[in-house]
C-alpha cells in the first residue's frame, strides 16, 4: 500500500492504495465520489471523465498512485454551490435522459468553456468526442453548451443563473 495525497474538489485527501488500483475505483469505492461512472473501462465511453489539473481525462485509464500531488475535480466539485450556468443550460434544454453520460459531458464541456468561453457547435462536438450518450442523440447537449457560452462563463455562479432554474 502507498499513501497518496491529492486535492479532490478543493479539499486535500489522503488515501492508501495499492499500485494496481485504478483511480476510477478509488474515487468511487474508497472516497465515495460517485459521479464518475464505470462504463467501458477501456477509454471509449467517457463516463468516467474527471478533470485532472483542469483537463478532462479518463479515470479508468489512470492508476490512483499516479495522481499524487495533483488536483482532481469531479462533478461534485463543479456543482458544489448549486448548478452552474452550464448545468442550468443543460436543464433548460432537457439535454439528458438517463443521465449516465452527464457527469462526463458536463466536465468535458466545463473544461472547454474555461479555455474557450464561446465555442462553436463543432468545438463542443470535438471537446465531448468520446463521451458517448446512448439516449439523446447529442443535439440538445451541444446546443446547451453553445448557449451557455453565448450567455457567459461556465463556472460563474450568478444569482441570475440560479433564477433560471426556477423558471
Amino acid at each position: 500500500m502507498k499513501k497518496i495525497t491529492f486535492t479532490l474538489n478543493g479539499e486535500s485527501r489522503t488515501v492508501a492504495v495499492a499500485p494496481h488500483e485504478v483511480l476510477l475505483d478509488v474515487l468511487r469505492d474508497k472516497l465515495g465520489v460517485k459521479s464518475p461512472k464505470v462504463g467501458c473501462e477501456r477509454g471509449d465511453c467517457g463516463a468516467c471523465t474527471i478533470l485532472l489539473d483542469g483537463k478532462p481525462v479518463r479515470s479508468c485509464l489512470i492508476l490512483a498512485v499516479e495522481v499524487e500531488g495533483q488536483e482532481i475535480t469531479t462533478l461534485e466539485g463543479v456543482g458544489r454551490d448549486g448548478p452552474t450556468p452550464l448545468q442550468e443550460s443543460f436543464i433548460r434544454h432537457n439535454a439528458f435522459q438517463c443521465g449516465f453520460c452527464a457527469p462526463g459531458i458536463v466536465l468535458a464541456a466545463t473544461a472547454l468553456l474555461e479555455k474557450n468561453p464561446k465555442p462553436t457547435a463543432h468545438e463542443v462536438q470535438e471537446a465531448i468526442s468520446g463521451n458517448l450518450c446512448r439516449c439523446t442523440g447529442y443535439e440538445a447537449i451541444i446546443e446547451s453548451a453553445v448557449e451557455a457560452g453565448r450567455q457567459g462563463t461556465a463556472r460563474a455562479r450568478k444569482p441570475a443563473a440560479r433564477k433560471s432554474a426556477n423558471r
Partner: protein, 301 residues
C-alpha cells in the same frame, strides 16, 4: 473489472535513476507515461510487469520544441500538446491532422505520441505519419544515447527496437527540406472514435516526389517504396493514380481481424491511396481542402 496483477510503482526523481532502475529490473519493468494503452493492457492481462516506472515527472521529457531544423516531441508530449502547438500547425500540418484523429479529447489529453509508437500496435496512428516524415527515435539507456530511424523502430506488433533498460526520450521530425504538403486518411468502422481499419499517410514534395506509408494493414507501419518509385517525377494523372493504388495494395499484408477483413482492407487502401495522393498534391498547390477533413466521406473517386 480491476487489474489482477500486482506490481510495484516507482517515480524516480531523475531520468538517470529511472534508467538505472529499468536496467536492473530488465523485462520485469515497464515505463509508464500517459498509461492509456498500458492500463488497458494491465486490465486485460496482456502484460504482467513487476514494476512500473513513472516518467511523468521529468521536465526534460516534456513539451514540444524545435532544434537543428527538426521538431522535438518530448516523450511526455501528448496528442493534445501536438494539437495545441503553433509550431506543429505551421510546419507539420500532417502531424496535426493525424493527432486530431486519435481517439477522443479525453484520451488525447493523456496519451503521448511516443507512447503510441512504443505500444507499436499495427493500427497506431502516429506510425505512418512519422514514417513519411523520416522521424528519428531518441533513446537513452545504461549505455548512453542512441538514435533509431523510424524505419528501423517497429519490429512487429507491439515490438520495437527498444532494449531493456532504455527509455525513449523524444522523437524528432525533420522539417522537410522542400515545400511539402500531406494527407492522412484513417478508415474507421463508424464516424466516432475508432481504431483504424486502415490508414494511409502521404507527404508530397515540390518536384513531384511522394512518400507513402500505411497503418493497420501490415504487422507494423510500413512505407510503400515501390509506389513511391512509380510516382517519382510524375504528374498525378488519373491513370497514374489508378496504377499507384493498385501497386500500393501489393506493398501491404493485411489480415482479417475484429475490425475488418483483409479483402476489405486491400480494396479500401487502393481508394485511400488515390484520395490521399490527390489531396496532398492539391494542398501542395495551395488549393486542397483544409487539413482535418475526412476524405473518405468526400464524393470523389
Amino acid at each position: 473489472m480491476s487489474i489482477a496483477c500486482e506490481f510495484d510503482y516507482r517515480k524516480p526523481k531523475t531520468l538517470s535513476k529511472a534508467i538505472k532502475l529499468l536496467a536492473k529490473r530488465g523485462r520485469d519493468a515497464r515505463v509508464l507515461a500517459g498509461g492509456t494503452d498500458l492500463v488497458g493492457w494491465l486490465r486485460d492481462s496482456l502484460v504482467a510487469p513487476d514494476l512500473l516506472v513513472d516518467i511523468k515527472g521529468f521536465e526534460e521529457l516534456k513539451g514540444i520544441g524545435f532544434k537543428n531544423r527538426a521538431l522535438v516531441l518530448g516523450a511526455l508530449a501528448t496528442f493534445s500538446d501536438v494539437l495545441e502547438s503553433e509550431l506543429v500547425a505551421q510546419h507539420f500540418p500532417l502531424l496535426r491532422e493525424m493527432a486530431g484523429m486519435v481517439a477522443s479529447n479525453g484520451v488525447r489529453n493523456r496519451a503521448t505520441v511516443v507512447g503510441n509508437i512504443c505500444s507499436a500496435v499495427p493500427c497506431c496512428d502516429a506510425g505512418p505519419v512519422l514514417q513519411v516524415y523520416n522521424a528519428v527515435v531518441h533513446v537513452r539507456g545504461p549505455n548512453g544515447k542512441r538514435r533509431v530511424p523510424i524505419g528501423q523502430w517497429f519490429l512487429g506488433p507491439r515490438k520495437t527496437a527498444i532494449r531493456p533498460g532504455e527509455i525513449v526520450t523524444s522523437v524528432t521530425v525533420p522539417l522537410p527540406a522542400k515545400k511539402a504538403a500531406g494527407c492522412f486518411v484513417k478508415l474507421k468502422r463508424y464516424r466516432g472514435e475508432d481504431l483504424a481499419q486502415a490508414s494511409v499517410a502521404v507527404l508530397a514534395f515540390s518536384g513531384r516526389e511522394y512518400r507513402l506509408a500505411f497503418g493497420a494493414v501490415a504487422p507494423i507501419a510500413v512505407r510503400g517504396p515501390r509506389t513511391e518509385a512509380l510516382l517519382k517525377g510524375q504528374k498525378l494523372s488519373a491513370g497514374l493514380l489508378e496504377e499507384a493504388g493498385k501497386l500500393a495494395v501489393e506493398e501491404i499484408v493485411p489480415i482479417t481481424d475484429i475490425r475488418s477483413t483483409k479483402e476489405y482492407r486491400s480494396l479500401m487502401v487502393e481508394v485511400m491511396v488515390r484520395r490521399a495522393l490527390k489531396t496532398a498534391a492539391a494542398r501542395l498547390a495551395g488549393r486542397g481542402p483544409a487539413y482535418g477533413i475526412n476524405v473518405m466521406e468526400e464524393d470523389t473517386p
